[in-house]
Symmetry: C2
Subunit: 202 residues, 2 copies
């Protein structure tokens, strides 16, 4: 059996190492890049190659940014008295897409995980406390994921933040996803949607 | 709503233009490349960027190759009297993986398609005839795909090749995929498996 020419093999190997791309997809992508000509491959290749050179962490919130301070932190229109704490920059983008929030963010860089050996010092916790102090923040929204580790991280931050006086600490609501079929929702989510039920009459 | 930093947006856009990669996967891949550090992104970026510079078509069979003549065509162990005609280099690799064939190949570069405006002159047909002549080929296996266009292409090649005397022209067998459930196979495939049934007793 013949194997692929070396440059194709190398490309397939690199593609296969990406999440959600199996051997079959990697082959298909490699042959697509072959068939669609050098310009397309060059555009993609350059975008990947230059990614890290062109981007860094915002020195304030930890979001990915072209400049030292990201577009959100340098936006004077945004409410500087509210900080929304997320585990990851991906989560920040999910919140931005919702178009509901106009405060600032703080990217922790993960969640507490004794199993993975991630403790408070591995997350950007002291930076959060410094910003809360310096900005005169009045509300911190804990938007770590609704998982065991995300909950533990939120609980830890709540305790640390409680030491400061008049600061509201909130957590994203749990409940049914919009448009969901009750019948298909998991028990825990249904239970949380009951516990967190909201009043419709005044 | 904030959009992604420009280098991330550009990367997501390039990834989204690939087959089978939607907006969600493109985002996930981009953030994976961010999170996994510059070395990984550089290896992938370089593999994509250098692909076309490092590879070309074999001047004999049309397969992708690092050298002017590909590894199959330059392998003297292979049977030079049999040529297997495929639409695409991808199909060649599928046949190689089967480990059943040790003749040569000929990549047509597509199939006849009046709709897409692909005629005989757009395929490497004259090159095939030249090779059949020059190599003293005794069998041509038509391995174009079992689709309307692939069948039409095979039929066209059969007619062209029939003009040469003692040359066996064959076509890949159609039938049930190995391990398939008869109940799940489509009617046309089941019909072909009946029509092409093979004798078990002598």
């Amino acid at each position: 059996m013949l194997s692929y020419a070396e440059p194709i093999r190398e490309l397939i190997e690199q593609l296969e190492s990406l999440p959600g791309i199996g051997p079959k997809s990697a082959q298909r992508l490699a042959f697509h890049l072959l068939a669609s000509g050098p310009e397309k491959a060059q555009r993609l290749g350059r975008a990947v190659l230059e990614l890290h050179a062109r981007i860094r962490r915002c020195e304030r919130c930890g979001n990915w940014s072209v400049d030292a301070v990201c577009a959100i932190c340098s936006d004077e229109e945004r409410d500087g008295t509210t900080i929304c704490v997320v585990a990851d920059a991906k989560d920040l983008m999910a919140l931005e897409r919702a178009g509901e929030y106009d405060g600032l963010y703080h990217v922790l860089g993960g969640v507490l995980s004794p199993v993975a050996g991630v403790g408070p010092n591995d997350l950007r916790v002291s930076e959060l406390l410094e910003r809360v102090e310096a900005l005169g923040v009045t509300e911190v929204i804990l938007a770590t994921p609704p998982t065991v580790e995300g909950d533990a991280t939120a609980e830890f931050l709540r305790e640390v933040l409680a030491e400061r006086g008049d600061l509201r600490v909130t957590r994203l609501a749990l409940g049914l996803p919009v448009g969901a079929d009750l019948d298909y929702a998991d028990q825990v989510t249904v239970a949380r949607s009951l516990r967190g039920r909201t009043q419709m009459t005044d």
